[in-house]
């Protein structure tokens, strides 16, 4: 399939050149002593007082070449492993502190987080699972509670976000416990992690703590750049891309210094601000265009890419549908490798179980439209057309059934009934249809559980962490 590419080759070169110039002549701040030392000994110009780092183009490019151009995101069940780039997009559910029910939002609990991961585990088009926030546990230990819940409720690849280097150590421990030992974790990272630069151009200490303390096991790293256009990056798309690109390149450079060949993901989660409401959004056509351009830039450097599909709607309504579809379409058609945000509302502040099912259908259709149209002797079906002839029917032909399932998307809840049948079924709109399907799935779907002793092991790790963290403050 031909990809949607909004930038010309020359424009990519210009953005590339500007970003490298920023890294070399303006620099970026690094609030992390160990990292400053590493950068200095690698040959960067480090101003220790200002904590500002400037890197020559040749060093940036040398370190960039060390980042792998493709890698596997492993899962507890190896049948759920997948490789990026895979010539298609893979999808991740969305984290958020709130769950939307109807038109209201409530805080997410640990049991919601478990259901959320379990639902993602069930859905065909969710390939990476992340929990909702565990808001009913103390803030200091929510991260590990969320990770425990994720490991217990899916056999797919998990995204784990520790909040500190202390937490990251426990994440490593849990993942090693699930796999058997640390050696296997080094080879099969069943989770990936991510952290965000503080735009513009400042790496905060906790982000680098997380990257550094997971580097030992070669855990894939989502290098997130999330500027707000017009606030923490220029208001123009081109200027924002320069910031995005410089920031992500700096993150890849740092991670390659932590560990050579560490898998890095070029993650562009650019936001816009509606200057009338002062609300930060991620769901508009500008953000979608930035993501499409970012996919090109990531390919230019041979690094797998990631972006968010998004809506700013507060409830499951038409706006949530068209914004998610718009952003998803731009991202899949431009070749973003990993797309986050299935199931989210309110520009990532909340999620809805119903929305996750709707997005699953939306992704199903999107992925189908990305496939090449197979043109072969058999699909041109000349023999069948001759056989059926004028005024005939194709329904009874073997050829029809052979290709129906192969060439048509299979959705879960999208309504294709006529009005009479629709009324008979309760005149449900898609949110209502999704609700009853969610209830059915959560009642019946149970992913392969971890062995009992492993579950207990995770519990012990969790209480060890709680003991260490909660008593120390």
């Amino acid at each position: 399939m031909k990809l949607f590419e909004p930038l010309t080759k020359d424009e990519i070169q210009r953005i590339h050149a500007e970003s490298l110039d920023i890294l070399e002549n303006v620099g970026f701040k690094v609030q992390h002593e160990d990292t400053l030392k590493l950068l200095k000994s690698a040959g960067a110009v480090v101003d220790c007082k200002e904590k500002n780092v400037r890197i020559h183009e040749s060093l940036v490019l040398e370190l960039l070449r060390k980042a792998p151009s493709s890698f596997v995101l492993a899962a507890r069940d190896p049948r759920n492993d997948f490789k990026v780039p895979g010539g298609r997009s893979y999808f991740c559910s969305s984290p958020a502190p709130y769950i939307v029910e109807g038109k209201t939002a409530r805080l997410s609990t640990k049991s919601d987080a478990a259901d959320w991961v379990r639902l993602g585990d069930y859905l065909k088009n969710i390939h990476l699972c992340i929990r909702t926030h565990v808001m009913d546990k103390p803030a200091e230990v929510r991260d590990l509670h969320g990770f425990e819940v994720s490991l217990n409720n899916t056999t797919k690849h998990v995204v784990g976000i520790p909040h500190s280097s202390g937490a990251a150590k426990y994440f490593n421990k849990m993942a090693a416990a699930v796999l058997g030992n640390e050696e296997i974790l080094r080879k099969r990272a069943l989770f990936s992690t991510g952290a965000c630069i503080n735009s513009p151009l400042e790496w905060p200490s906790n982000a680098l703590d997380v990257f550094m303390s997971t580097s030992e096991y070669n855990i894939p790293a989502h290098i997130n750049s999330e500027p707000i256009m017009g606030v923490s990056s220029p208001v123009t798309i081109a200027g924002t891309l320069v910031i995005n690109n410089a920031e992500i390149l700096s993150g890849i450079v740092i991670n390659q210094l932590y560990k050579e060949r560490r898998p890095c993901i070029y993650a562009v989660y650019t936001h816009a601000m509606n200057f009338k409401t002062a609300e930060v959004t991620s769901s508009g056509s500008n953000e979608a265009l930035v993501a499409a351009a970012a996919a090109q830039l990531a390919r230019f450097y041979n690094i797998p890419s990631s972006a968010w599909m998004c809506t700013n709607s507060k409830t499951v309504d038409a706006q949530s549908g068209f914004e998610s579809m718009l952003t998803c379409a731009f991202m899949t058609l431009s070749g973003i490798d990993i797309i986050w945000g299935a199931g989210q509302l309110e520009s990532q502040k909340s999620v809805s179980f119903e929305k996750l099912l709707i997005d699953n259908d939306l992704i199903e259709m999107m992925l189908r439209s990305l496939e090449d149209i197979e043109v072969s002797e058999d699909t041109l079906a000349a023999d069948v057309i001759r056989k059926v002839g004028p005024k005939g029917k194709f329904l009874q032909e073997q050829h029809t059934m052979k290709y129906y399932l192969k060439e048509h998307p299979s959705t879960l809840i999208t309504d294709y009934h006529n009005r009479r049948k629709w009324e008979k079924l309760g005149s449900r709109d898609i949110a209502e249809a999704a609700r009853s399907k969610v209830e059915e799935i959560l009642r019946t779907h149970q992913p392969t559980p971890l062995p009992r002793d492993c579950q207990d092991h995770l519990k012990r790790i969790l209480s060890e962490y709680e003991k260490e963290t909660l008593t120390s403050c």
Binding site: A139, S232, F275
Partner: protein, 222 residues
Amino acid sequence: MDEEDIYTKIIDAIVSYDSEAVARHCREGMERGMEAIDIIQKGLAKGLSRVGELFEEEQLFLPDLIMAANAAKAGFKILGPEVSRKKGSSVFIGRIVIGTVEGDVHDIGKDIVVAMLSGAGFEVHDLGVDVPTCKFIEKALEVDADIIASSALLGTTMVGQRKIENLLKDLGLKQRFKTLIGGAPVTEDWRKEIGADGYAENAIDAVRVAKKLVEEKKGTNV
């Protein structure tokens, strides 16, 4: 041209965020012998509340708001020393120590609030981001603040606001300072839970709540 004209000109200059015009008309007012305090109340303050209204009506954009607040500040710079000289006291309507709580490096929302508060005539001591709990209180004691304001963007860092409340109580200083909280995950319920004095939904609201808290404080002090 009478005094009303001067006020109108200042208000218009603020709405169109023309710092130079604000300064010029403030000077003009002083030269005519108008009271600095009147120019502040009937000119600068009115201009800012007009800007606030227009923003709430979604007629102005956020950058307009910040630039207008900066324009008002230019007026305060000129009128402030005059008021202090005459009254022998500060021109500022209150003193605020503000920062983003420990562990949180987000400053966009906080910076907008700082711009609006300084524009509205508060003396603002901005501690920046990732501010340790004790730092808020040290600074508040040092400058004898009326209000300690804290911002948090993350659900994980909101606890920093509770820590401020607890430390104030432990030190027996809860009555001495008013506390004001804000940030994306922060709500009125959270304010009640931790026992903060005020919650502001946005930067405009922050000015309103801060004014209310200062009045309360001065009321109780009398």
